[in-house]
């Protein structure tokens, strides 16, 4: 089956949006600008998930990540008075060491992704084009099914983790315990 013709166009458009958004996140002085750039990156990533035939994860990303976590970040940024920090120095004293370490990590990534064993690339193509209509049902059967669900225990532990996080966040942010 042939892939759709517009796939490279959308991939490069969304990838450029994500990279530009990421660069804006780490270089802006104002924290609200960084949060807006991060929301743009997350929404473009939801588009990439749709290209990878993962509509449920794309929906979870938009609702939870862009609509929940980033709104929480914006609340806290509005609560904290950060006017003074806009005029201060933005990068810390060891910024050069940080960039050298990140460049070393980038070199490691390039070395891994360009190795070829016996002339073949790392992950050769074997993909067919599936429809997306059974995606949510398949994820639900992995999570909740009695016989085929391997992630039921992880699901319960995740709910316990959220309980611990709720209690921790409330205790941390209270004035008097």
């Amino acid at each position: 089956m042939n892939p759709p013709v517009a796939t490279p166009f959308f991939f490069y458009l969304l990838a450029a949006t994500m990279i530009v958004g990421g660069i804006l996140v780490i270089t802006r002085k104002n924290a609200v600008h960084s949060a807006m750039a991060l929301i743009t990156t997350l929404l473009a990533q939801a588009g990439i998930y749709l290209m990878l035939y993962a509509p449920f994860v794309a929906g979870v990303q938009i609702i939870l990540y862009a609509g929940g976590i980033m709104v929480l970040f914006l609340f806290v940024i509005m609560l904290i008075n950060m006017e003074r920090s806009v005029k201060e120095r933005q990068f810390n004293k060891q910024w050069l060491v940080g960039i050298v370490a990140a460049a070393a990590l980038g070199g490691l990534f390039i070395a891994v992704y360009t190795t070829t064993t016996k002339g073949k690339m790392l992950f050769p193509e074997g993909r067919m084009s599936f429809g997306e209509d059974q995606n949510t049902q398949a994820i639900a059967s992995l999570l909740f099914d009695r016989h085929a669900g391997q992630y039921m225990f992880a699901f319960e532990i995740a709910s316990l983790l959220l309980l611990v996080a709720i209690i921790g966040a409330v205790v941390m942010a209270k004035k008097r315990i």
Binding site: L64, G98, L143, L162, M172
Partner: protein, 108 residues
């Protein structure tokens, strides 16, 4: 360059990971460090979903383990962001600053 393979998504994920690492290592503002951590987690999620798509080509349309793992990573990121911001609020209430290198009460 024209056919988008798994490697394209992996390289994009690696680039986002590098941007997040640079943000964590070089910024002074705590909120932007937390947002860079969210960038790192998103890069990991992109890798997971790309590999789940790769596995679907080998093991059939029900091999969605990468996507389930990505959902758990998003849940974990929400919990960690909430607790991290709570700590930030508690610290800001005491010291009136949001810079990471002024957290030096335990220095000798």
């Amino acid at each position: 360059m024209l056919h988008i393979s798994t490697l394209h998504y992996l390289v994009l994920g690696a680039a986002l990971f590098l941007l997040g690492v640079i943000g964590v290592l070089t910024r002074r503002n705590v909120v932007i460090v937390l947002m860079s951590i969210e960038l790192i987690l998103n890069a990991v999620n992109l890798n997971l979903v790309a590999f789940s798509r790769y596995w679907q080509g080998i093991h059939g349309p029900g091999a969605l383990h990468g996507q389930v793992f990505a959902i758990f990573v998003i849940t974990d990121a929400a919990a960690e962001a909430a607790v991290g911001l709570g700590i930030l609020i508690a610290f800001f209430r005491n010291k009136e600053t949001v810079n990471v290198d002024e957290v030096n009460l335990l220095k000798w």
